[in-house]
Amino acid sequence: MNCTIKMWLGICLCLFIGKRASGQSDSTSIYVGHILYPSSDSARITALQKLVKHGEPSTFPFLAAINEKKIFLLDGQPVTTGSAQQLADGSEVFEIFYLYPKSQAVLNSDGTPKLLPVSSLEKIDISRSDRLSMAPILPYLNLANPDPKKRIIAYGQLLTSSDSSKINVLSGALNLEKDKEALTAGKEILFQLKLEQAKSETVAKAYVDSLDSNWGENVTLILKDYSVSGKLEGAKKYAAGKVTDLESLQGRIQKAQNLFSGISLGSILILIALGLAIVYGLAGIINMAHGEFLMIGAYSTFCVQKLFIDILGIKSDLFFFVSLPVSFIIAGIFGLILERLVIRHLYSRPLESLLATWGVSLIMVQLARSIFGDLTAVKAPSFLAGGYQVMPHLILPYNRLFIIGLTIIVVSLTYLMLYRSRLGIQIRAVTQNRSMSACLGVETRKVDAITFFLGSGLAGLAGCAMTLIGNVVPDMGQTYIVDSFLVVVTGGVGKIAGAILSGLGIGFLTKVLESFYEAVYGKVLILALIVIFLQFKPRGLFPDKGRIAED
């Protein structure tokens, strides 16, 4: 950190050499003093404005700290905090840096960096309106910020800056830029500025090409603007041509994005519908409480997180991996209890089971409400934040990718379990002919219980995954439940392949329709499509075949 700060200051200085006479004047120190100890409200803002006007590089670290709202006093000196370290008792301490007149680390007498908790520092509150008066100088403050995101913003701010030497400053800064994303963004600004100033068509065209090959976030917009308001006719046409190309490319990217969204919604539906399909296939039970097992899974994840952070004091993402099996098992156990207490008595009466499970879902929702209150959420693990950038304009969020991956794994495991294991054979046997299986020595009751455990557990797993995209509320189970019922019906009752195919189909169609119509009309259209589909395939995608099945 120490080294970063030094580098930062160095760059600041480099960038400004030759631009402004550098040097520490007495007035600067006075203004700094005014900011730290203002004699009146207006004194602080006047001093700040003065400092901004002077643009003294030596004050930049100080101003940047103000802008970051990370300015403190230590023994009367302005300081800021650096990276944090965790102590054994869980509390956090920070490295401390002096800001003015010199930016350097605060050291202990033995030369090691001094570590202090924030509470031992005196915080200086500087209002947002005061902070905003630094706007003209902000790009320069952040051009060398260690955080690439901040640098991107700084580059963007240069665009509207009235500074005549901004192109040189920007090129200088970009020479030092290491981050790929920030480089692209910075180059885009640079080329745009140069394009605007280009005098000859060949030069302008070259910059249009550079912009195109650089392919930043706003390239279409920039070229479009230029094709309308540019000065050179030939280059304008050239830019317009590029815009058409880019737009068709963007259309394709949009399609890819829709495809991805469809797959990701589809995989959520599959994850939920899988358990439903298994339970439903076995006993013909419409489990209205299925959504509530999802909720149980989500709350289990929440509890595991609480256990890790509040009780065990482990602040890592480990909890999420623990909570995957835990949510499966806890939801499964609840399913087992439900099966033992209620469903067991209802295997011969599937429609009654619908009503009983409806009652159970009421109880479970209220139970969750009185235990957990109403709104909670799981903090998503940090490695799932953000997304994978396939190309500019196409980001695949990690959490969605994770859910897709999880779905693939869960579906494969379920498939293996059902079609490659002894238990699977028993489950399928009971599904097809309960009494015959019983005659052949299959313990149907045990199989029933295990199936229910699995089905509910899968819902719990889905609930755990759902914490990545939504919050955890007692009635969260209701959101996707009708959709996943539709998936089961369209796929063909009790058919895993059907659930996968129809889940993907419904997810994909929803997203495609959503991009044309609004979400609601999309839903109505989907229903109409499903009804039409069932005209031709009344028993879903994969119906049971043969003579007996038709009774």
């Binding site: 439903y280 013909g284 419409i286 209205m288 209620v342 008595h345 209802l346 009466r349 599937p350 429609l351 009654e352 089971s353 619908l354 009503l355 009983a356 409806w358 009652g359 159970v360 879902s361 009421l362 109880i363 929702v365 209220q366 139970l367 009185s370 009708v482 019922f485 539709l486 089961v488 019906v489 009752v493 609601v520 839903k523 109505v524 229903l527 499903i530 009804v531 039409i532 069932l534 005209q535 031709f536 009344p538 009774d551």
Partner: protein, 366 residues
């Protein structure tokens, strides 16, 4: 014997609801709130009769009855709102308030017929019937039944609910239609009119009950039960199942719509909240809890469940969901014939008085 038992039961029902409660209200023992509560329960009971005909007798589990209920409710509400707009005549226009707020300047075409009360009544029945016909035709044609039927109708209810929530539908969005002033020139806030609506609902319930009873006792009703028992046998005995299912689906929709028409003016508001998935499942619940396949069971279920809902949300605001939830589960588990079956069982336990109580639980099938 059966006849006299039935007769006594009917008499008791009539004395209680048509004489004792209204008299009590006029004399001030029974509050207006109680009267309007029961008036609304009767509407639910009418809708429950429809559910029982479709599900209890024919075996089609329809989970979109609340949607038909709301279609009826909305049509009457549209008429009332329109009349209110004409009466208040804000800036000379006859456009309901919520449209003015949403900057809709011309009355949407589908609102026009509802200016007439007669047309509103006819459309309130015609639209659900037509809807039931079209939707039912495609569903029954492709022989969707059982669980499939339940889920498809549930999805229909969901889709329609979402549609009605939209403001573009021009039916008031989430807020629905409200601010009902008067119906046929009678102020809806006066106690007399409220009592009148109560009695009218009661009469409606009795009328639809006897209509339904006639229906299920006729050969038509027997065909319905035959369809429930064995669809294939019914069609090999030359009955066109599609016709019968469609007919009873439409009758059920009509009953629900009729109930909705009575319901809206008594409640003072109709919103899409009345037609969400939950509302439809609840209607099925009433019938299941009361006793499926028995008309009296449907009525009993609708009245008892709603009465409990009203009381429990006031007496046990924190735990009523537990109470109702457990009631559902226990009834389904141990009294598979619903409240009627429960009365029968308890009656059986008392022994000597059995012959008096079982009449309540009399079966439709002799």
């Amino acid at each position: 014997m059966e006849k006299t038992k039935d007769f006594r039961l009917y008499l008791a029902f009539i004395i209680l609801f048509a004489i004792l409660l209204p008299l009590g209200n006029l004399m001030g023992f029974v509050s207006n709130n109680t009267i309007s509560l029961w008036g609304r329960y009767f509407c639910f009971a009418i809708a429950a009769l429809g559910v029982d005909l479709i599900w209890g007798y024919t075996g089609i589990l329809s989970m979109c009855q609340a949607f038909f209920f709301c279609l009826g409710g909305y049509s009457v509400a549209m008429h009332i709102v329109m009349k209110g707009a004409t009466a208040s005549g804000t800036s000379g226009s006859a456009i309901p308030d919520f449209m003015v707020w949403n900057q809709i300047n011309a009355l949407p075409f589908f609102w026009v017929p509802f200016q007439s009360f007669g047309l509103a009544l006819i459309l309130g029945l015609l639209i659900p019937a037509a809807f039931a016909f079209v939707f039912g035709y495609f569903i029954f044609r492709s022989r969707i039944k059982g669980v499939y039927m339940a889920i498809i109708t549930q999805a229909l209810a969901l889709a329609m609910w979402l549609l009605f929530l939209r403001n573009e539908t021009m039916l008031g969005g989430t807020n629905g239609l409200t601010d009902f002033k008067s119906l046929l020139g009678l102020s809806l806030s006066s106690p007399g009119v409220k009592l009148g609506l109560y009695l009218f609902s009661l009469a409606g319930l009795c009328g639809t009950y006897f209509f339904s009873k006639k229906l299920v006792d006729s050969k038509f009703g027997k065909v319905l039960q035959a369809i429930r028992d064995s669809e294939s046998r019914t069609s090999y005995t030359a009955y066109r199942i599609l016709d019968y299912k469609l007919a009873i689906f439409i009758v059920g929709a009509l009953l629900a719509a009729f109930a909705g028409m009575l319901y809206a003016p008594q409640t003072g508001i109709i919103t899409p909240g009345r037609m969400d998935v939950r509302a439809s499942v609840e209607m099925v619940m009433w019938v299941a809890l009361g006793g499926r396949g028995k008309l009296k069971g449907a009525i009993l279920g609708a009245l008892v469940v709603n009465f409990l809902y009203s009381i429990c949300t006031s007496l046990f605001p924190d735990s009523w969901l537990f109470i109702l939830g457990f009631l559902f589960v226990i009834t389904v588990l141990y009294f598979d014939k619903g409240f009627l079956g429960m009365i029968e069982k308890i009656g059986g336990g008392i022994g000597k008085k059995k012959n008096k109580i079982t009449e309540v639980a009399e079966q439709q099938v002799v």
